[in-house]
């Protein structure tokens, strides 16, 4: 079996999930999120359209972008729209349902809600982050989404300091009750394990742990109790997957460490 980094594992897990999701479009951010989208396109789902909230649509990269506005997302795109059009594309459920959004955050709770705004009190924060950007929009309206998170007790928390991006809010029926239209998160990908959400309770459960980790060790890094019973060991990246990831997705090693 090939040697691989946990970051490579995360990208490959995401690429496989895109195929499973059966979507036409991936709406992604920078870093691991772009890498995952490119991996999906190069490895599992060649027809998928890569899309940035800045309005770059059907992008073909030559180099990894440093931000959503990097000129590298513009060259070779099929369309360059603006933010207004980009977000309308996902709020519109005809196209929104065809789209998988990729998110990330500083904190996540058991219902997959995300915080990327503050640590501490909103009006007197200990740490201030960038804020929503398009995350709240994506979580509110996109057909389905996945999130990249680092595992850890300060990240997987019992109660968010600020609810920036809606997951399943406080449980079953909550999205419908407040009037949210999108589909909610399907998968959380971390550096040691992946998580999904129970159909009935909408609570996060352990979906898979990466080779070398155990369900119990994963639970140790989470501030709330989760169901470990459905967990399986994740299938590691194949040599073929790693080859494409390393040579075709990020040959400059801008994201891959």
């Amino acid at each position: 079996m090939s040697e691989y980094t946990l970051q490579e594992m995360m990208a490959i897990v995401a690429a496989r999930e895109v195929q499973k999701a059966g979507v036409d479009v991936i709406l992604c951010g920078t870093g691991i999120s772009t890498l995952a989208a490119v991996a999906a396109k190069k490895i599992t789902t060649p027809d998928v359209v890569i899309f940035f909230e800045t309005g770059a649509i059907d992008v073909e990269f030559n180099q990894m972008p440093m931000s959503l506005s990097d000129p590298r997302v513009m060259h070779g795109a099929v369309r360059l729209a603006g933010l207004a059009e980009a977000f309308a594309l996902i709020q519109n459920q005809i196209t929104g349902k065809k789209t998988l959004g990729i998110l990330g955050a500083a904190q996540i709770d058991i219902y997959g809600n995300l915080n990327s705004t503050v640590i501490g009190d909103y009006f007197n924060p200990k740490v201030r982050f960038s804020g929503s950007g398009g995350a709240c929009d994506i979580g509110s309206v996109v057909g389905q989404s996945m999130a990249f998170m680092e595992l850890g007790k300060r990240k997987f928390v019992d109660k968010l300091d600020y609810l920036t991006t809606p997951g399943y809010l406080d449980g079953p029926g909550a999205r419908e009750k407040v009037g949210l239209i999108g589909g909610g998160p399907q998968l959380v990908i971390t550096n040691k394990a992946t998580f999904r959400f129970d159909d009935l309770t909408k609570k996060m459960y352990l979906d898979s742990y990466y080779p070398g980790f155990t369900p119990e060790a994963i639970q140790e890094e989470i501030n709330f109790a989760i169901d470990l019973s459905r967990a399986v060991e994740a299938v590691p990246p194949t040599g073929h997957e790693l080859e494409i990831l390393r040579t075709q997705c990020d040959p400059e090693r801008m994201v891959l460490k």
């Binding site: 870093g31 800045t54 000129p71 603006g82 933010l83 982050f129 960038s130 804020g131 929009d137 999205r175």
Partner: protein, 325 residues
């Protein structure tokens, strides 16, 4: 020359259209097309108490905050992509309580400018239902009530009056923004204020159309007849613009697609160092902004060789050889 000529110096443009306490909207997105020359001129003219509205502006917002010009901000994202997951002065000022912030999402800020551009008081969205963007108001009701320039409410939730099912159908109405002045940087403009942007335009167009005044800096002034050859490439019309200033390298250290790349040496290495240390930061302000007469002198400090290394490839619009780490 037409009566409608809007060419002026950047000093005059800022003097004429930017005032203490104004509501200013900044074009560009994280590290691309930030109107840096104008931002530096605003800092140089010591304009204070600005109210900033932006979607995801990175470098321009952060230097303006660091320059002491900003009192409050409405924004979706105070970051700079992988150069700065959270902008440094933005973070520091909020943590210290010296900057009042109101959080929206990117789409909401875009819709607020779009409402302003359309001349309606609000636009509807499903975004943010059930979140703290709805529940927590950075500008409280009392604060809003006291300031006529703010809408009384951050947002309002209303039922869809066309709903014919028993399903819940509520919308978030976000209030229009009509900034006193929008500041953008573009590739090309003519002397009348017709503007041609190449590449992504973010929310620049909504911001421009929503504004009472608009300052456009650009890499090149061109003849109107050149713009008429490709009307599909022009986005902004003369009567939407107040001032046009030719400022080559006007977005540096951020990128201008087809002209130059961002400067990783500045954004990744130099800026974080000076922005994190108040003595270093004061030195930067003194030396690079307040201590220079104009953009030309600033660019001399950066140096021709460094600028040349950023020049964009004619085909791809950036510099594929750029060292980005």
């Amino acid at each position: 020359m037409s009566e409608k000529n809007k060419l002026m110096s950047l000093t005059d443009a800022v003097k004429k259209f930017v005032h203490d306490g104004d509501l200013i909207s900044l074009g560009g997105f994280s590290a691309t097309l930030c109107p840096m020359a104008t931002v530096h001129e605003i800092i140089r003219q010591k304009i204070k108490h600005l109210h900033i509205a932006a979607c995801s502006n990175g470098q321009a917002v952060d230097e303006l905050i660091g320059g002491g010009c900003v009192e409050r901000i409405e924004i979706a994202y105070g970051g700079n992509g992988r150069f700065a997951p959270t902008c440094l002065h933005f973070r520091k000022a909020i943590e210290q309580g010296s900057l009042k912030v109101e959080d929206y999402s990117n789409y909401q800020m875009t819709l607020r400018f779009m409402a302003g551009a359309m001349g309606v008081p609000f636009l509807p969205t499903y975004s943010s239902l059930g979140t703290d963007i709805v529940n927590k108001w950075g500008f409280g009701e009392e604060y809003r009530a006291q300031d006529e320039r703010l809408p009384l409410k951050k947002l309002v939730i209303k039922d869809n009056p066309f709903n014919r099912t028993d399903k819940i159908d509520k919308l978030v109405l976000v209030p229009a923004l009509q900034p006193d002045v929008t500041i953008i940087h573009a590739q090309k403009a003519d002397a009348l204020g017709n503007v041609s942007l190449k590449g992504l335009v973010y929310s620049d167009l909504e911001q421009v159309k929503a504004s009472k005044n608009v300052i456009v800096t650009c890499e090149e002034i061109v003849e109107t007849d050149e713009l008429r050859c490709n009307p599909e490439y022009n986005q902004i019309i003369s009567f939407q613009v107040s001032a046009v200033v030719e400022v080559p390298w006007g977005a540096y250290p951020t990128a201008v697609p087809s002209y130059y790349d961002y400067d990783p040496a500045f954004l990744l290495h130099f800026y974080p160092k000076v922005a994190k240390d108040s003595i270093e930061w004061q030195k930067y302000l003194d030396e690079y902004i307040v201590g220079v007469k104009d953009r030309q002198e600033f660019l001399q400090l950066i140096g021709t060789e460094r600028l040349d290394s950023l020049r964009a490839d004619a085909v791809c619009g950036y510099n594929p050889e750029l060292k980005r780490r």
